[in-house]
């Protein structure tokens, strides 16, 4: 029998040459199977060889290494990471949503079932719609796209609305720098998302669903489309979901390179074939969403937590986590980090554990200067803040946000003033243009930061920046303009020297940080 090797087909693994490794293994007579990535991205391509002990991993394999992998010549060195399931980096995590990612072949429905898949949907189909929503409410599951809004409440609003047609839309726009969990879930275990969306549809009485998937993710688009076809062929989707009589049709729609289309109402307009401009709320999408119909809009990770919630019960999920942040969060370590990748852990884990214990510090080996948590609209935090627990409320209280769980690490060569400028510049570039504080304020923000950094009337311009940030925070229609001040103010607060500013002068600007999640303009996103 020929040896069996697993080579990830995840885009990150492909970006460092996994396909060539797979081809070389096949040429050497090995049976190659393709999995998603385990999320230990610094080890990619991570090839796993099936043995009596389990799947043994070899890190950073190149085509020329294939003979050494097969002959055992690497077994005593650093490149062999042992039985992958027992790797300490994985063993210390709590994989719930990502339990199958990297383990199974992404579009193998039988393997999905064998590893616990479809149990949640099967149970949901034995419950009333009200009971399904009650499980989700009890789980305490909150939106993973950024705003942390309770999923159960949203679902119940859609469930109670009466309409001829209702929709479930998955937000897979994942535009935040430093986030890639949506992509890896879709590429590594797409049936989990399909199952979560189907449960949502059954619970709220929706018959049609869309996944709005960004065009920057061609591999995810392909894998998800294939998985949907397979789900139809096996009666998971279509006229009678698992024979229940519920209809649910699901389609993938591809974004077109606009960051703002991650904002849910902009996404809905884009799905309708319009410019992705943000809608004023109310009406909320739960009542008047896609084509004016009641619509569930949830992030990939929110929906992907649902199968487990239904399979094991809401109480089991609610037993994990801390405070009002229940369950697990799929954290993503990126940027200048030694051990970047996916860390799924219960809420409450500290930033320090993530950055230092899992991340292993910077990739450059230099000291960590700051991390940005929660994407381009999130705060920059210095190591002095690393004891913060990952918890929506604790972060909001620290003028920061958990967001989609992305953590970007910077070493001491980072220029916080340049990053603040970039935040304004990015906002100017990606603003949908609908409201003035964001459209004009961001452009002005770039100019004002330039003047501060150049030392031109620094005091006066600091006051101006403060005003500008306040106007953007208070006057923007959505969180794009509303939260851009967060990275700007946090950079200035923690690293005033990068603006050429004395710490005391910076204080005036940073006193008035954007307010917490719940008071965000438009309520779209903390």
């Amino acid at each position: 029998m020929s040896p069996v090797a697993w080579v990830p087909c995840d885009a990150a693994a492909l970006s460092v040459g996994a396909d060539a490794v797979a081809a070389a293994l096949e040429a050497a007579g090995v049976t190659v199977r393709r999995n998603g990535s385990r999320g230990m991205l610094w080890l990619e391509p991570l090839v796993e060889l099936e043995t009596d002990r389990g799947r043994v991993g070899y890190a950073n394999v190149e085509p020329g290494d294939v003979d050494a992998v097969l002959s055992g010549a690497l077994d005593d060195g650093d490149r062999c990471v042992g039985v992958v399931d027992e790797h300490p980096w994985l063993a210390r995590q709590h994989r719930v949503s990502f339990t199958r990612v990297g383990v199974t072949e992404p579009t193998d429905l039988a393997a999905y079932r064998a590893h616990g898949g479809l149990a949640g949907l099967e149970r949901a189909l034995t419950l009333t719609d009200e009971q399904v929503v009650a499980e989700v409410t009890e789980s305490g599951l909150r939106g993973r796209g950024g705003a942390g809004f309770p999923a159960g409440i949203k679902w119940d609003t859609v469930r109670k609305a009466s309409a001829d047609v209702k929709f479930v839309c998955c937000n897979a726009d994942e535009g935040d720098s430093g986030t890639f969990a949506d992509r890896m879930l879709i590429e590594g275990d797409p049936f989990t998302l399909i199952e979560g969306m189907t449960i949502a549809a059954v619970a709220v009485g929706a018959t049609e669903g869309f996944v709005y998937l960004r065009s920057e993710y061609p591999h995810a688009i392909r894998t998800l489309r294939r998985a949907i076809d397979i789900a139809y062929a096996h009666g998971v989707l279509g006229g009678s979901v698992l024979g229940s009589g519920h209809r649910f049709d699901l389609d993938v729609r591809v974004g077109a390179g606009a960051y703002i289309c991650g904002e849910e109402t902009s996404m809905l307009d884009s799905l309708e074939g319009k410019r992705g401009e943000v809608r004023a709320k109310p009406p909320i999408p739960a009542l008047q969403g896609l084509f004016g119909q009641p619509t569930v809009v949830n992030n990939v990770l929110t929906l992907s937590a649902v199968p487990m919630v239904l399979a094991d019960g809401g109480a089991a999920y609610a037993a994990l986590g801390t405070g009002r942040s229940r369950g697990t969060q799929v954290f993503q370590l990126g940027g200048n980090v030694a051990h970047g990748g996916i860390v799924e852990a219960d809420f409450g884990i500290s930033l320090r554990e993530l950055v230092e214990d899992f991340g292993g510090g910077t990739a450059s080996g230099r000291p960590v200067k700051a991390v940005q948590v929660g994407g381009p609209l999130g705060a920059y935090l210095p190591p002095a803040k690393f004891d913060l627990p990952m918890d929506y409320e604790a972060f909001a209280a620290a003028d920061a946000m958990v967001g989609h769980g992305g953590i970007v690490v910077f070493d001491d060569s980072m220029d916080a003033g340049a990053m603040a400028r970039f935040a304004m510049e990015f906002c100017a570039k990606e603003s949908c243009g609908k409201c003035t504080p964001c459209r004009v304020g961001s452009t002005r923000g770039v100019e004002v930061i330039d003047r501060i950094r150049a030392g031109t009337q620094r005091e006066a311009n600091l006051v101006l920046l403060d005003d500008l940030c306040t106007t953007m925070t208070k006057g923007s229609l959505c969180a794009m303009g509303g939260l851009t001040p967060m990275p700007v103010r946090s950079a200035l607060e923690h690293f005033p020297e990068d603006f050429g500013v004395e710490p005391a002068a910076a204080e005036a600007v940073t006193d008035d940080m954007p307010e917490s999640a719940t008071s965000t303009p438009g309520g779209a996103r903390p």
Binding site: E44, P218, G273, A363, D411
Partner: protein, 161 residues
Amino acid sequence: MRQRGPSPAPAPAPADPERAASVRSIAEQLAGVRGPLLPILHEVVETHGHVHDDDVPVIAEVLNLSRADVLGVVSFYHDFRRTPPATHRVALCRAEACQARGAEATYAAASDRWAGSTEVEVGEVFCLGNCALGPSGTLDGTLHARLTPDRLDALTEEWVR
């Protein structure tokens, strides 16, 4: 384009009837889906490389929209490019996580190297979801990691400068 027969002053380039027929067929095939405009525009770019000004009235007619509506959508999204792509395309990520790993140096080197080139176009993107292995970018659509200026050089060695 060569002109046939005696032709007075330079006339505007005649619309390409073959292309118009193809665009019409794409639009007609997708017209029945919900919110068909984005899928149609994606397909046009996929098939023809870009959305030409002449494609707009064709799509507008099939969908029963005004030209301004279609143009408004085309111009809103980065993906719906309105000029043909160069022979080779470099798209480099300039978002935060890649900046933390030196993306700006790579972008500057690439912009420099291919300044004025008609063969190679250099563009920026904001996050490709490969944020732990940056600087990331795509070369003719294929994703690459750890794109230092040197590695970019090596990977594009065979391209015309």
